[in-house]
């Protein structure tokens, strides 16, 4: 089956500024797709290009097999939830939600029914007659969702829809959005700078830097197998250490300064292998601290606790290991019977070859 949305070589120039540098992308029907990246990476420009608010300088955009070059925003099968929500303040909630139905060939009763259904879908039944400007942030967000979904678009575009909400509300809305997307089966494209949000919600994520896609993959691959140093650093916590990488026959051999040599699988070098000096990434949870009395058959390095950050369910240790350039960040679950170590305590760091990701780029 062909993709619902196809982008081929999309470039966007604003004067001298090159905002999008050759974006190639395919998004499938029913997918929850995220555009993730730091501010200014071009993710919002790309979303607005799909919506029809920006015209690409070159490249083609196809939605459902149709070239969108000559199709203006109001005729595209896309609807958008804006970062500010853009709820029309002079209209009621119901008038906002029903705005897109103005030009639909429906009877008044049908429209009223559609609005009620859309409001029920986002949990705002009975809010129809309220004035839009009197709503809370979370309610505005829901109205914006209902308003965009009432037209049953092929694609729903969400521009940082949760950034204006507080943490608790945000986490609640993340779950609701996932559930909503599964219910309606519409393709969602989410723009966000919050890597955790992207990991939680998406089927696939494109990580963007400076107008380019750095890596495109499902959340687990992106987290466990970043293809470059910048992706590794942008998503989650990652220890990045200098090392040497080389090929010995068919095997990839890595020498991490201060930890030692080991052979890794080819998928542990997702960005490819350039023999010589390299960066090696190690996730905090793939390392371990050996508590007094514990033994292991994994490899061990002696160190001293440099910093302790207690999160309740987890404790993050920074452990200084002789020969390793910077302290290693290690996360440990606080399970029953396990003490929280103090700064200055001597300890043993557990690691093995499976922890390593070779980051040649």
């Amino acid at each position: 089956m062909t993709a619902l949305i196809q982008l081929r070589g999309i470039h966007k120039h604003y004067g001298d500024y090159h905002a999008l540098r050759g974006i190639d992308l395919e998004i499938r029907q029913g997918e929850f797709f995220s555009l993730l990246g730091p501010s200014g990476c071009g993710k919002t420009t790309l979303l607005r290009t799909i919506a029809g608010f920006e015209t690409p300088s070159s490249g083609t955009l196809m939605i459902d097999g149709k070239d969108m070059a000559a199709v203006p925003a109001n005729h595209r099968p896309t609807n958008m939830v804006f970062q500010s929500y853009a709820i029309f303040p002079h209209l009621t909630v119901a008038e906002n939600v029903g705005f897109g139905l103005r030009r639909e060939p429906m009877s008044k009763d049908q429209k009223t029914k559609a609005v009620a259904e859309a409001l029920a879908m986002v949990g705002l039944s009975g809010y129809g007659t309220r004035a839009a400007h009197a709503l809370s942030g979370g309610q505005r967000q829901r109205v914006a969702l209902a308003r965009a979904l009432i037209l049953k678009p092929k694609v729903l575009l969400l521009d940082e829809p949760l950034s204006a909400l507080d943490k608790k509300m945000r986490e609640q809305m993340q779950v609701e959005l996932i559930r909503l997307q599964r219910t309606v089966g519409i393709t969602f494209i989410l723009v966000t700078h919050d890597q955790e949000e992207a990991l939680v919600m998406s089927d696939r994520i494109a990580v963007m830097f400076e107008g380019e896609i750095g890596q495109m993959a499902d959340p687990e691959t992106l987290y466990r197998r970043p293809n470059s140093r910048r992706v590794a650093e942008f998503i989650g916590k990652m220890n990045i250490l200098p090392g040497q990488v080389g090929m010995e026959g068919n095997r990839i051999v890595v020498d991490v300064a201060g930890l030692g040599r080991g052979a890794v699988e080819t998928d542990q070098a997702p960005g490819g292998v350039v023999p010589g000096n390299t960066s090696v990434g190690i996730r905090p949870e793939t390392l371990g601290v050996l508590f007094p009395g514990e033994t292991t058959d994994r490899r061990v390095a002696e160190g001293v606790v440099d910093e302790v950050v207690y999160y309740g369910d987890m404790t993050y240790y920074d452990v200084r290991v002789p020969g390793v350039q910077q302290p290693l960040t290690i996360s440990m679950k606080n399970i029953i019977g396990r003490p929280v170590l103090e700064v200055g305590a001597p300890t043993r760091v557990v690691w093995d070859e499976r922890s390593l990701v070779v980051l040649s780029r």
Binding site: P72, A73, N74, Q83, F88, H90, F99, R147, A148
Partner: protein
């Protein structure tokens, strides 16, 4: 405390200085004497009755109302366009263009009046009429219109029109259904302010009016006759009342617009 007391005195003197002369208007307008002097001689509405029967005055009033109405519409129309342009992301010469349209605000009216008189009579070789006054009044009213409407437009979320277009409206539909209702209070406010400015203007009308004088020009003509002074007082009383009423209505609409869109109030005339 002392400083607060000083400021309060200053404020009171300031207000007396501003409004005491205006308070004299109704005082003598209702006084039963042809001479403007104390002591007052008694209550009378005969000056107002006399106004009612002065045909030349009615003609001047009709002229003024006609000129003020057309001016208010033209200036607000052009002001709306300029304020809308001001919200565009950027275009070449945007700052310069917006600066230039605000210029008549600081130019002396008499300079504008003389310049326009030369253009109309020497360059275009047209006869002076109500339309020449309208053209000149529109020029001086546009900056006020823009100042009022800028506030209304700049408070708007730029996503509003995009959201409307995203939901299937054309560019014009988005403007008509979303932007226009939100800036409508500003537009009404601008109409009223421009109407008052045009109605009150003397300098430009004096230069550019044709054979039919406007109200202020007519009043100026009356001042040559001593016995017409109470009549001017009565007329002045009516005009001040109308002006203040319109200003209050204009401000009411401006504030309602700000409140309706849920924005913070910045500035205004009252």
């Amino acid at each position: 405390m002392r400083r607060a007391w000083g400021l309060r005195t200053y404020a009171i003197i300031y207000l007396v200085f501003l409004y005491a002369p205006i308070l004299l208007l109704p005082l003598f307008a209702f006084n039963d004497a042809a001479i403007i002097a104390f002591p007052l001689t008694g209550f009378s509405t005969r000056w107002f009755e006399q106004l009612w029967t002065t045909q030349a005055l009615h003609q001047a009033l009709r002229n003024s109302l006609f000129i003020a109405s057309i001016t208010a519409i033209l200036a607000t129309l052009l002001g709306t366009c300029a304020a809308r342009a001001g919200t565009m992301p950027s275009f070449p010469g945007k700052r310069g263009a917006l600066g230039f349209v605000m210029l008549p605000l600081v130019l002396p009216e008499i300079v504008i009046a003389v310049a326009l008189l030369i253009v109309v009579r020497q360059v275009l070789d047209l006869n002076l009429s109500n339309w020449t006054v309208i053209a000149a009044h529109t020029v001086i009213c546009i900056p006020f219109s823009i100042a009022i409407l800028n506030g209304a437009f700049q408070n708007l979320d730029p996503s509003f029109e995009e959201a409307a277009m995203d939901l299937g409206e054309t560019r014009w539909g988005a403007f008509r259904l979303v932007t226009l209702p939100l800036v409508l209070p500003g537009i009404i406010s601008s109409l009223l302010i421009c109407f008052i400015i045009s109605l009150d203007d003397f300098v430009i009308a004096q230069f550019l009016t044709g054979s039919n004088p406007t109200m202020p020009v007519y009043i100026y003509g009356l001042t040559r006759f001593v016995d017409a002074l109470p009549l001017i007082m009565a007329l002045g009383t009516i005009l001040v009342t109308i002006s203040i009423t319109l200003l209050i209505i204009a401000e009411y609409f401006r504030r309602r617009g700000v409140a309706r869109a849920g924005f913070k109030d910045t500035g205004g005339f009252l």
